[in-house]
């Protein structure tokens, strides 16, 4: 049983934004986070605005300059879009092993980004794409780099009357490598213990782009900027990659929980960062 709540079902974005501003409800997308949390009491709320019927939130748009996902795009939509394999290889990989079949049908990218969980699997791949999120409210629209979206555990810069309407990024450079690795207790339908994504591009033997993002090892998913700075402009050697992995691990502040200890998370963050950068460099160099 879910606790009782009121639900409005707007059909257009302006109606949804008005409902958020005036009735003070909370957005409800796929409900795959909200419903379990409401049922267990981790989440309170008796006023929701359903995004299910809002027109124009569920789409994938590919242009030469930009790939844009409406916030209502589901994990299955991403899995079923063959272009995603080149538009965002690591995101396609993350969507494929996200939850189980039934949850993927309902879970949206907007909900995954907005829930602010450190283990949200689409976030490391989106961070290494240097994605932007568009936030809309009754008074206007703003675009924020995803890298500046999270402020603390389950906290974001989003205001209560704002909706995340889309996520977008520039296509990866041709020949770049975009990877994601999810370490979990089992291969399917498991919560991430340590998640790592990297984007590496090279030109004339030097690394031109280096982005590294880690999940489940700090209060928020984060970009390992220090590690990235060590790599850009260099020919990557095992030594340098090890230094970068160390720098990334240095930025982690993991916790113990039922899935793993903090120490295990730290060691795997280090090892997986090293492994993924090495693998990516082999692909691009």
């Amino acid at each position: 049983m879910l606790p009782p709540f009121e639900l409005s079902q707007p059909q257009t974005l302006p109606e949804a934004l008005r409902a958020l501003a005036e009735d003070g409800g909370q957005p409800l997308a796929g409900g795959t986070n909200l419903f379990p949390d409401l049922r267990s009491g981790r989440e309170k709320g008796d006023q929701f605005v359903s995004l299910a019927l809002v027109e124009g939130l569920r789409y994938i748009k590919h242009t030469e300059q930009r790939i844009t996902l409406g916030s209502g795009t589901t994990m299955s939509d991403i899995v079923h879009d063959p272009k995603m394999e080149t538009a965002a290889p690591a995101l396609a990989a993350a969507a494929k092993i996200f939850a189980g079949t039934m949850v993927r049908t309902a879970a949206t990218i907007g909900g995954n980004v907005c829930c602010g969980s450190p283990s949200a699997d689409t976030v490391p791949p989106l961070l290494t794409l240097a994605a932007d999120v568009t936030l809309s409210s009754a008074s206007g629209e703003r675009t924020v780099p995803l890298d500046e979206f999270y402020t603390d555990y389950k906290k974001t810069v989003m205001k209560p009357d704002e909706l995340l309407t889309s996520v977008s990024w520039a296509p990866p450079a041709p020949g770049s490598a975009h990877l994601f690795y999810k370490l979990a207790r089992r291969k399917g339908d498991a919560i991430t213990v340590t998640g790592v994504s990297v984007m590496i591009a090279a030109d004339a033997g030097k690394c031109t782009t280096a982005r590294v993002a880690l999940g489940s090892v700090a209060p928020t998913v984060f970009r390992a900027h220090e590690a990235e700075d060590l790599l850009v402009g260099q020919a990557l050697t095992p030594d340098l990659i090890e230094q970068a992995a160390k720098a990334a691990a240095h930025q982690c502040s993991p916790i113990d929980d039922i899935r793993a200890t903090a120490d295990y998370r730290l060691q795997t963050a280090h090892a997986l960062t090293r492994r993924l950068i090495t693998q990516a460099w082999k692909q691009v160099a």
Partner: protein, 162 residues
Amino acid sequence: MSTDKIITLKVNGSAVKFIAPAHRTLLEALRHEGFVEIKCGCEKGDCGACAVLLDGEPVDSCLTLAWHADGHEVTTIKGLGSPENPDPLQKAFIETGGAQCGYCTPGMIIAAKALLKENPEPSLEDIKRGLSGNLCRCTGYTRIFEAVQVAAEELRREGDVA
């Protein structure tokens, strides 16, 4: 406090109409209407016992609001076949021993149906991943995976004949 609404949907091809408040899940609503072939396990998306097809797509009915299913089509395990005319998956689950207590079976077969629609020739690994949202406490899964392989072969043979 919660306002009630009349919900009209189709279940296994027949119209069903009921009144539900916003927080009523599709699982609760349909079991109340007599569709007790939909099983209730965890009510939080972990076990897949409550899986149904919503407009052909597999969902956990415990994570779906009845309001969100308004005007849509639901298929339960009973909509896939009958004892006289079973779906190849139903037949294979019986023949291989893929069902023991049977509690997970409706959801397993719904998830397997969705898997085979997308991937008619799944590897063992594909089957394991395709059913990772379904838990079984009896079989140890081996017979379930076998049943899906047997059904996949049967469906491919049917496809060749047609």
